[in-house]
């Protein structure tokens, strides 16, 4: 791509890069799921999570890139469908970047298949008055669908550089770097009315785009069809869930955990640590601190590495595969009606499914939802009922070992409660539900490289985020135990824990652990169940309460950050009694019916 168009406008003189007081700030802007984050990663060498569905990026990411001889600050922004009119919270974030001095130059990233849509956005981006470059990404997918774009003609009409790219393969990247020097303000209609822009975009597209009926994407189209039709889509969903259970619940939570917990820790690390401590540490207090009942190594590290890590790693791998395939948004078609009862629409399936990875992240992803009411309900339901990956897997690990009926009971009760609370919230809370309008990403075969990078990054994130909290939690428990507070908590909790819920007294402290991190509490239950201290009914009741119970500290802080203190505490105030009374009711019913599992 040359800059001849721009050069002509600048009287033939190529514009040289000037010395600046601060690095040039380049913002990547575009519709959701067009590959901004991939371009960002390619420009800066910094990986940000890339997935095949709209709304993966809900906050800005910054990185540095070398363009020619100049260092630039590159900003990745959340995808926008519009920058004026009715916009969502993540779109407002992008609007802020464009309106402020956070950006000097804008690269609009466009999906080459959807040129008309991209062009509708161009005047809105141009309205912020920054020089622009248009990057036509996924040009290969456009070709395979019989679409060709005359980039030179488009550049001439717009008066800005137009670069054809296949960002995932790095194609067009150096052209994009070169084009930055020629960025210019485009010739676009200045009217603010959407219909005027639509006419302009339609006509311009007609002039520069060629289409043929030949499509090479038959397999993709067939898969897309199979996953969204109820007759094939529901069996596929069942198969996906079963595969998830096999891979995470059986392979991760049973095979791998057994290998690491009994093998590496049970026979290796823990005996070794005990041996070293017994021999070299003369102070019993320090010994206990490291290898005692609440020892940093025997409890904290064992929980984090042996019980939770294998499960989290297998889950992230499988989850990343589903994300990149473009499958998850298709579930929204099936869920829309159900979610409507809860004051949401099918789009809410995205944060809900993401919550299975991590509720804290998912709480942030609720930004893609249309109205404040929807966001609040989604955040509430995430905190209430969606088990995060580690918790989900410990649930599978414990209950999968008991019976399928136990697992089914737990999920039925939790989903029932979510449904009920959602239904009530939809009626009690003020505000509107937005209409269900969702773009479905194309079905793609995930790129193994991206999948591995993403999983590795998430596992590292887990290690960085969870392990310190596990250790801190263990220290806290150790201190509480030493000063006798644990006994006080256990006896104070006894009427509820033993009386109402019918659980062993030791469960009280596990629920406290559960507040630090849900998976930490779940790991505690896992050990309890492993040691044969829980009956089937007790395991189901304890896990149900734990799943419904208050979210972990990180999730709570995220709720406060996104929705404020009052809302955060209000959610806690709703969830805690719901969890305890559901557990009590379940315990009562199961005992009454004489269920054994």
């Amino acid at each position: 791509m040359s800059c001849h168009v721009v050069h002509e406008r600048a009287n033939g003189a190529p514009r040289a890069l000037k010395l600046r007081a601060r690095p040039l700030r380049v913002a990547l802007v575009g519709q959701p799921n067009v590959g901004k984050s991939v371009v960002f990663g390619r420009l800066t060498g910094r990986y940000v999570t890339v997935s095949n569905y709209p709304g993966t990026t809900v906050a800005v990411t910054k990185g540095r890139a070398l363009v020619g001889t100049e260092v630039c600050d590159v900003i990745d922004t959340p995808g926008v469908n519009a920058l004026d009119g009715t916009i969502s919270e993540d779109e407002r974030i992008t609007q802020d970047v464009l309106a402020s001095d956070q950006s000097d130059v804008v690269i609009q990233v466009a999906d080459a298949r959807n040129l008309r849509r991209a062009l509708m956005l161009t005047p809105q981006v141009a309205a912020f008055g920054k020089p622009m470059v248009l990057a036509l990404n996924m040009i290969d997918e456009a070709y395979s669908r019989g679409i060709s774009v005359n980039a030179a003609a488009l550049a001439a009409e717009l008066g800005i550089p137009v670069v054809e790219m296949v960002a995932v393969e790095g194609r067009g990247l150096s052209e994009l770097r070169d084009a930055l020097a020629c960025a210019a303000r485009p010739h676009v209609p200045t009217q603010r009315h959407a219909s005027g822009r639509a006419v302009w975009a339609h006509e311009l597209t007609g002039r520069v785009r060629g289409t043929s009926k030949v499509s090479l994407a038959h397999l993709q189209e067939a898969l897309a069809r199979l996953t969204r039709r109820p007759s094939t889509g529901l069996p596929i969903l069942a198969a996906v869930l079963y595969a998830l259970y096999l891979f995470v619940g059986v392979f991760g939570a049973q095979t791998l955990v057994a290998l690491v917990e009994d093998g590496v820790f049970g026979r290796g690390i823990n005996p070794a640590a005990t041996w070293v401590a017994d021999r070299y540490i003369p102070f019993p207090l320090v010994r206990d601190f490291l290898i005692g009942e609440y020892g940093l190594i025997t409890m904290g590290l064992t929980y984090a590495i042996a019980i939770v890590l294998p499960v989290v790693a297998t889950f992230f791998l499988m989850f990343g595969f589903l994300e990149d395939s473009g499958y998850i948004p298709r579930l929204a078609i099936f869920c829309d009606r159900m979610f409507r009862v809860m004051g949401l629409n099918g789009k809410a399936v995205l944060p809900m499914v993401l919550g299975l990875g991590c509720d804290t992240m998912a709480t942030m992803t609720t930004r893609i939802l249309g109205t404040p009411k929807e966001r609040l309900i989604a955040i509430l339901l995430l905190a209430l009922g969606i088990p995060c990956s580690a918790q989900l897997a410990t649930i599978m690990g414990i209950l999968g070992g008991i019976s399928f009926a136990a697992l089914a009971t737990l999920f039925a009760v939790v989903l029932g409660q979510m449904f009920l609370v959602g239904w009530l919230a939809a009626r009690v809370l003020k505000g509107e539900r937005s209409e269900f309008i969702l773009e479905l990403p194309p079905i793609r075969w995930p790129r193994i490289g991206n999948l591995l990078t993403k999983t590795q990054l998430r596992v590292r994130w887990y290690l960085g985020e969870a392990v310190p909290l596990f250790l801190a939690g263990t220290v806290l428990l150790f201190v509480l135990d030493r000063i006798g507070a644990l006994a006080v908590i256990s006896s104070a909790g006894r009427p509820v824990v033993t009386g109402l819920l019918g659980l062993p007294p030791a469960t009280a402290q596990i629920l406290v652990m559960g507040f630090l991190r849900r998976d930490y509490g779940a790991a505690g239950l896992f050990q309890l169940a492993h040691g044969g201290q829980l009956t089937g009914v007790q395991a189901v009741v304890a896990l149900t309460v734990m799943t419904l119970f208050v979210p972990c500290v990180a999730n709570f802080l995220m709720m406060v950050r996104e929705r404020g203190f009052r809302t955060g505490f209000a959610i806690l105030a709703v969830i805690t009694p719901v969890a305890i009374f559901t557990g009590a009711g379940l315990n009562y019913v199961l005992h009454h019916l004489g269920v054994q599992f």
Binding site: N81, G85, S195, H202, R228, I333, E435, F436, I437, L438
Partner: protein, 103 residues
């Protein structure tokens, strides 16, 4: 209720062929299209909560070509190259001029 309609005469590639065979077809709501039917968007009726803005932003604008892909449990259609799922009430407000199903 307002509606945004544009004076797009059907700018199809082969207007004469279609018009010769069928004449000008009536404008109907997208929700009435059967699976596999094609059409061109003529207008989008505004809702009360920025529905038009959102649909426009997704490329559902007058002149866009649509293909109905699925009508149950939700409506799924292809608008140019974008596959979209919408609820029925939204589909009521998208007015299209259908093409005859190719035999």
């Amino acid at each position: 209720m307002s509606s945004i309609t544009l004076a797009f005469s059907s700018k199809s590639k082969h207007p004469q062929r279609r018009d010769a065979a069928k004449g000008v077809r009536q404008v109907v709501a997208l929700s009435t299209l059967r699976e596999g039917m094609r059409g061109a968007v003529v207008a989008v009726h505004a809702g009360d909560n920025g529905r038009t803005d959102r649909l426009f932003a997704l490329g559902v604008t007058p002149g866009a070509s649509v293909v109905m892909l699925q009508t149950f449990p939700g409506i799924v259609f292809l608008c140019d190259q974008t596959e979209m799922a919408i609820e029925r009430s939204v589909a009521h407000s998208i007015m299209v001029r259908p093409e005859e199903i190719r035999s």
